[in-house]
C-alpha cells in the first residue's frame, strides 16, 4: 500500500506542470509576440481562416497569431465566457456580430474606441453602415465587422423537373415566384414511404436544421419590423412578423408538422456532417440558405444541378426580401495586448483579410470597397451581392441573442405545436422587453 501511496505522490509531482497548464505563456524571449485567436467556425470556412492567419503572420515580424478552433455557435459562447472569466481567454475572438452589444453589456469585451481613434479615426467609413452599427454599444466601439451574407432560395433542377415542372420558372431573371407557387411545386415533389413518412420533400420553409428558414427570414419577408430602436422596444407582435409566423404555421399544418420533424430527424439528425446536408443528398428540392452553401456544393456535390433565386414572396409583384448577418472580431476582456490584437483585426477584417475570405468561402465582405470589386463575384455569387441591395438586418440590441433565442422558441411552437402566433409572440415580448429595459435609452 505504501508503495501505491508514494507512487501517487510521484505522479502528482510529475503532473504538476499539467495541472497548472494553460496558465499563460510567458514571452520574455526575443521571439515575436504570441496572440491567440479563437473561432467557433468549422470547415470549410475555418480552412480559409487558417490560411488568412498564416498570411498575416507572414506579412509582419512583430506578432505571431495562433488560431484555435473552439466549440460554440452563433449564440453559444460558453467556452469564451468561462475562459475569460478564468483569465485564460484569447486575445481575439470571432463573434456573431448581432450579439456584440449583448456581450459588451455583459462586460466580456474590451472597448476598442480609443485604440481605433488613435490608429485610424476614419475606419467606420470603410465599412457598410449596418455592419458598423452592429459593433456599437452605448456609443462605443467593441468590434470590427467581418463578413456578411445573404439568404436566397436554392433549388434542385433535377428534382423539380422529375416532378413534371419546368425549373425555368424559378429562374431569377423572372423575378421571385410567389409562396403560393412555391407550395404547388413543393407538393408535386413530396414523396412518402409505406409508413407515410416523407422520403423526399419539396420545401420546408421553416427548417433551421439544414437551412436558414428562421423567424427573421419570414418576418422580414412579410414586411415585419422586429424592433423600434427609437422607442427602445422589441416589436415581435408587429403585424408583418405575425403574418410571417402565420405563414409557416399554415405550411407546417399542410405538411403535418410531426412528419416534417421525422423527416428532419431521419435525414438531418443532430450531429449530421455537412456533406450529409439534406439538400446536398437531394432529399429536399428547395431550401432557403446563405452564400456559404455555394462552396459546399462546389466541394461535396459538384454534379448537383441547382440554381439560386429570390426567396418566394407573399404576393405577386411584391419586393423580394432577404436578411444579412455575419461575424465580427472582438478583443475579450483581460487581453494584455489590445493594440497588437487590433492591428491583427484591422488586417483580418480589412481589405486583405476580407478579400481572401470572400474568395475562399463565397461569403460577402463588409469592407465597402471590396463590394465594388467585380472580380470577387462570379456566377451565383453575384446574385448574393445584388441581394444585399434589398437586405434587412437584425436590430442591434443589447439583448440580441436573448431575443433570437426567444423568437426561435416561439417559431418552433408555432410550427411544431401549431400554437397561435400572436399569443406566443406576445410572450416573447413579455420575456425580452424587461431585459431590454435595463439598457434604455438606446443610443
Amino acid at each position: 500500500m505504501k508503495r501505491v501511496v508514494s507512487v501517487g505522490f510521484v505522479l502528482m509531482v510529475a503532473f504538476t506542470p499539467v495541472f497548472a497548464g494553460g496558465q499563460g505563456e510567458a514571452g520574455a524571449d526575443d521571439g515575436p509576440l504570441e496572440l491567440t485567436f479563437w473561432t467557433s467556425h468549422t470547415p470549410p470556412d475555418s480552412i480559409t481562416l487558417a490560411a488568412m492567419v498564416d498570411a498575416y503572420n507572414a506579412s509582419q515580424q512583430a506578432v505571431r497569431v495562433e488560431m484555435v478552433q473552439v466549440p460554440g455557435s452563433e449564440t453559444d459562447v460558453a467556452q469564451l465566457m468561462t475562459a475569460v472569466r478564468g483569465g485564460t481567454g484569447p486575445d481575439i475572438y470571432m463573434l456573431d456580430r448581432f450579439t456584440v452589444a449583448q456581450r459588451a453589456a455583459a462586460g466580456v469585451l474590451e472597448d476598442l474606441t480609443e485604440v481605433m481613434e488613435a490608429v485610424d479615426p476614419a475606419l467606420p467609413d470603410a465599412y457598410i453602415p449596418y455592419a458598423w452599427q452592429e459593433t456599437q454599444f452605448q456609443g462605443r466601439t467593441y468590434a470590427l465587422p467581418f463578413d456578411t451574407d445573404a439568404r436566397v432560395l436554392y433549388y434542385n433542377r433535377r428534382m423539380i423537373a422529375e416532378a413534371g415542372i419546368d425549373p425555368a420558372i424559378l429562374d431569377s431573371a423572372n423575378g421571385p415566384i410567389t409562396l403560393e407557387q412555391a407550395r404547388e411545386i413543393a407538393r408535386a415533389i413530396d414523396q412518402t414511404d409505406a409508413d407515410g413518412n416523407y422520403t423526399q420533400v419539396g420545401f420546408i420553409p421553416y427548417d433551421i436544421q439544414f437551412s436558414q428558414g428562421w423567424h427573421y427570414t419570414w418576418g422580414f419577408n412579410f414586411g415585419g419590423r422586429f424592433a423600434d430602436l427609437d422607442a427602445g422596444r422589441v416589436t415581435p407582435t408587429d403585424p408583418g412578423v405575425v403574418a410571417g409566423f402565420e405563414f409557416v404555421r399554415d405550411w407546417a399544418a399542410d405538411m403535418d408538422p410531426q412528419r416534417v420533424q421525422t423527416f428532419i430527424s431521419t435525414y438531418a439528425p443532430p450531429n449530421t456532417p455537412t456533406q450529409q446536408n439534406a439538400f446536398l443528398t437531394e432529399r429536399v428540392a428547395m431550401k432557403v440558405s446563405g452564400d456559404w452553401v455555394l462552396k459546399w456544393l462546389e466541394q461535396f456535390t459538384p454534379d448537383l444541378d441547382y440554381g439560386v433565386t429570390y426567396i418566394p414572396v407573399p404576393t405577386s409583384g411584391a419586393q423580394p426580401s432577404t436578411w444579412a448577418g455575419g461575424w465580427a472580431l472582438v478583443v475579450p476582456t483581460g487581453s494584455d495586448h489590445v493594440e497588437e490584437a487590433f492591428d491583427f483585426m484591422r488586417w483580418f477584417a480589412g481589405e486583405p483579410g476580407q478579400r481572401m475570405y470572400t474568395e475562399g468561402t463565397a461569403h460577402l465582405p463588409t469592407y465597402a470597397q471590396l463590394m465594388n470589386d467585380d472580380a470577387l463575384f462570379d456566377g451565383d455569387h453575384e446574385f448574393f451581392r445584388a441581394s444585399l441591395a434589398f437586405a434587412s438586418s437584425r436590430p442591434p440590441l443589447p439583448v440580441g441573442a436573448l431575443y433570437w433565442d426567444a423568437l426561435t422558441r416561439a417559431f418552433s411552437s408555432v410550427t411544431l405545436q401549431q400554437e397561435d402566433p400572436a399569443t406566443v409572440l406576445q410572450q416573447v415580448y413579455d420575456e425580452v422587453q424587461p431585459q431590454l429595459d435595463q439598457f434604455l435609452p438606446l443610443q
Binding site: V84, V108, Q261, S265, T266, P270, S412, S413, D430, E431
Partner: protein
C-alpha cells in the same frame, strides 16, 4: 477516562478533518455563496449589483424556466418508477440458479458503468427513424416507427429508455437484497401453497422495500440533475433549442446556459436555490411517504 475521551475526540476530528474541510469548502460555502449571488445581478465580470428579489420575481415570468422545470419533473416522474421496476426485474433474473449466471450478471451490469456521453452518441444512431436498429426492428415486427428524439412526445421517454442501460447498477443492489432473504421463508410459503407470483408480492417485495426507498431517493436526485444526455444529443449547432420544441431542455441545462452562456450568474444562482429547495422537499416527501410501506425488520 476523560483523557481518553478527549484524545479520541481530537484524533477522530483530525482523521475526518479532510472531509469537514471539503464539506465546508465545496458544499456548504458554495450553497450560501450562491444564495448571496441570487440577490444580485452578476455577469461574472465586475462586482455583483444588488437587486433584491428581482431574480426570484423573474422566475415567474420566464416561460423557458417553466418548460425546463416541467421537462425535468416529467423525466424524473418517468425515470424513477421505470428505473425501479427494471432494476427489480433484472435482479430477479440475475438471481436465477443457472450455472453460468455470472456471465449474464456481467453482461447486464457492464452498460451501467459506461460513459453516458458515449452512450448518447450511440443512442442517436441507434434510434434514427430510418437507419437505426431500433426502428428497423419495430418495422420488422409491425410496430409503428417512432421518431424517438425528434418527436417531442417521445423524446423524454427516449432518454428514460437510454437511462435503463444503467439499470444494472441498482439491480446488483436489489440482487444483494434478494439474497439476504432467508430461504426458509420461501420454503414455508411454498408448503402453504403460495405460487411464485404470490411469494414475490408477499415475501420478496416487502423485504426489499428499504432498497426500493434507496433507489427512489437516488433516482430522484439523478433525475433532477439530468444534463449530459440532453447536452450531447440535442444542445449543439445553430439551433439554440434543446430537442424539438425544447422538449429536452432540462433544469440543470438551463442553469448552465444562464450561468455560462448568458453570463447571468445571479439569476442562475436563484435557479440553483430553487432546485435545492425542491429537491429537499421532494426527498422529505418521499421519506414521509416511505414510512407507510418500508419494512425495516427481517424477522
Amino acid at each position: 477516562m476523560g483523557i481518553i475521551r478527549g484524545r479520541n475526540l481530537r484524533n477522530g476530528l483530525l482523521f475526518v478533518s479532510p472531509w469537514i474541510f471539503g464539506f465546508i469548502a465545496f458544499q456548504v460555502y458554495p450553497i450560501f455563496y450562491s444564495l448571496r449571488l441570487s440577490f444580485t445581478r452578476y455577469s461574472g465580470f465586475g462586482p455583483p449589483t444588488p437587486i433584491g428579489l428581482d431574480n426570484f420575481r423573474r422566475l415567474f415570468s420566464d416561460p423557458l424556466l417553466w418548460k425546463a422545470a416541467y421537462n425535468t419533473l416529467y423525466y424524473t416522474a418517468l425515470a424513477v418508477p421505470i428505473g425501479v421496476v427494471v432494476a427489480i426485474v433484472l435482479a430477479l433474473a440475475m438471481n436465477q440458479k443457472v450455472r453460468e449466471v455470472a456471465v449474464y450478471r456481467a453482461l447486464l451490469y457492464v452498460p451501467s458503468i459506461l460513459p453516458i456521453f458515449a452512450l448518447s452518441f450511440v443512442w442517436v444512431v441507434f434510434s434514427n427513424p430510418r437507419y437505426g436498429l431500433l426502428n428497423h426492428l419495430s418495422r420488422l415486427v409491425g410496430l409503428p416507427v417512432i421518431d424517438w428524439i425528434g418527436d417531442p412526445r417521445w423524446s423524454k421517454l427516449s432518454l428514460v429508455l437510454l437511462a435503463q442501460l444503467g439499470a444494472g447498477g441498482p439491480a446488483l443492489i436489489f440482487l444483494a437484497g434478494l439474497r439476504a432473504i432467508p430461504t426458509e421463508l420461501f420454503e414455508s410459503a411454498e408448503i402453504d401453497g403460495a405460487g411464485p407470483i404470490r411469494r414475490f408480492f408477499r415475501i420478496t417485495l416487502p423485504l426489499i422495500t428499504p432498497v426500493i426507498l434507496y433507489d427512489i431517493i437516488l433516482g430522484l436526485s439523478l433525475g433532477l440533475q439530468v444534463f449530459t444526455q440532453a447536452y450531447v444529443i440535442a444542445s449543439t449547432g445553430p439551433n439554440t433549442m434543446v430537442g424539438p420544441d425544447n422538449s429536452l431542455m432540462f433544469y440543470v441545462l438551463y442553469v448552465y446556459r444562464n450561468a455560462f452562456q448568458f453570463s447571468q450568474m445571479g439569476y442562475a444562482s436563484a435557479l440553483v436555490w430553487v432546485l435545492f429547495m425542491v429537491s429537499l422537499a421532494l426527498a422529505l416527501i418521499v421519506f414521509r411517504w416511505a414510512k407507510s410501506w418500508v419494512h425495516y425488520e427481517i424477522e
